[in-house]
């Protein structure tokens, strides 16, 4: 665990929290609970560049503190479990599925997250009527996942190698050697 990685994880976690709180200032998209999930850009970026546990930390940090700061602590009940499950699925697809792109994995994560949040909300609040919104939430999840995935893809593509902890060796080949590891 290098100092650079920890510092970058802290920065990305803070950015995820800030973007979560800013997004919460806007009204929901079309239906109650409809959000794009801009904060997940930093969570997935942390997972791709730093590793699984760093992305998981950023996700937990954003969900817990974000819910506390916006004054709706009960939101942790339905946002954190859904977030963790969709994050694990997304990261598994990105790291281990050879022919699945970051954007497609993000769309899967966004859709699963939206559906799970809706189902958990129905169970926790005993509001069966909310079930009719779940397909619409899935559509918003697809849109959100596409935006997040595209943004992360562009960041990975165009950021300099040193920001992604990629070091070129003397014969100019890629060497994913992180100093201090």
């Amino acid at each position: 665990m290098s100092v650079k990685k920890i510092a970058l994880c802290g920065i990305l976690s803070a950015l995820a929290l800030i973007s979560f709180m800013i997004e919460n200032l806007f009204p929901p998209l079309l239906i109650p609970g409809g959000k794009i999930g801009v904060a997940n850009i930093f969570v997935i970026f942390a997972a791709l560049v730093l590793g699984f546990k760093y992305g998981l930390f950023a996700l937990t940090f954003k969900s817990v503190l974000g819910s506390v700061f916006i004054g709706n602590v009960s939101a942790i009940l339905y946002s954190l479990p859904a977030g963790i499950i969709s994050y694990v699925l997304q990261v598994a697809l990105i790291f281990y599925a050879k022919r699945v792109s970051i954007i497609a994995a993000s769309v899967v994560g966004g859709t699963v997250n939206s559906i799970l949040q809706g189902i958990t909300f129905c169970i926790v609040t005993a509001t069966r009527e909310y079930v009719v919104f779940i397909p619409y939430l899935a559509l918003i999840g697809i849109l959100g996942g596409a935006i997040v995935g595209t943004t992360v893809y562009l960041l990975i593509k165009f950021l300099p190698d040193r920001f992604l902890f990629i070091h070129r060796s003397e014969n100019n080949t890629f060497n994913n050697n992180i100093k201090g590891e």
């Binding site: 109650p32 709706n72 009960s74 792109s101 970051i102 994995a105 899935a138 595209t150 992604l164």
Partner: protein
């Protein structure tokens, strides 16, 4: 298509935005969403048919009811200190010193209800209106739920039972 070989940062840098397996994934997602619409739509009541009243829930417990026919509120036992009625408005309190509350206004003519004021942090529930059979308003910080009650009708309801 799904070989278990761990990728790392240098692989992501050289990846394309659209890969082979994406077609399968997008198809599965679109099919799942279409299927969920087909399952949900038959139970999605969109008319004001058979609406007879409103139920007000405080933390999953029924606190009060309103019936359009009698134009009358009914407060349940144990909630007389938590609910205040003023003509066509009902105020539901969530703490003992009555600083946290929601005010719901009822429109008898159009059989609808809306939250006109809330002390919760998000104010997401304010200005939301319910007018359809089975519709509801939910205030998460206060755990308030306002549900429109109506006749189910003769069709079966696979989702809400």
């Amino acid at each position: 298509m799904f070989r278990l070989i761990k990728k790392d940062a240098k692989d992501f840098k050289s990846d394309k935005p659209f890969l082979q397996a994406d077609i399968l994934i997008y198809s599965l997602i679109i099919l799942s969403v279409l299927l969920s619409f087909l399952l949900i739509f038959p139970s999605n009541r969109t008319s004001a048919y058979g609406i007879y009243g409103l139920d007000f829930y405080c933390g999953n417990e029924l606190a009060a009811t309103y019936r359009f026919a009698e134009r009358k509120f009914s407060i349940k036992n144990g909630f007389t200190d938590k609910v205040f009625i003023d003509e066509n408005k009902i105020t539901v309190y969530f703490n003992e010193n009555q600083t946290e509350y929601n005010v719901i206004e009822i429109d008898d003519e159009h059989k609808k209800a809306s939250v006109i004021y809330s002390t919760c942090a998000g104010h997401d529930c304010e200005q939301t209106t319910v007018s359809k059979n089975g519709g509801f308003i939910y205030c998460a910080p206060h755990k308030l739920k306002v549900v429109i009650c109506g006749d189910v009708g003769n069709y079966s309801d696979p989702v809400t039972g």
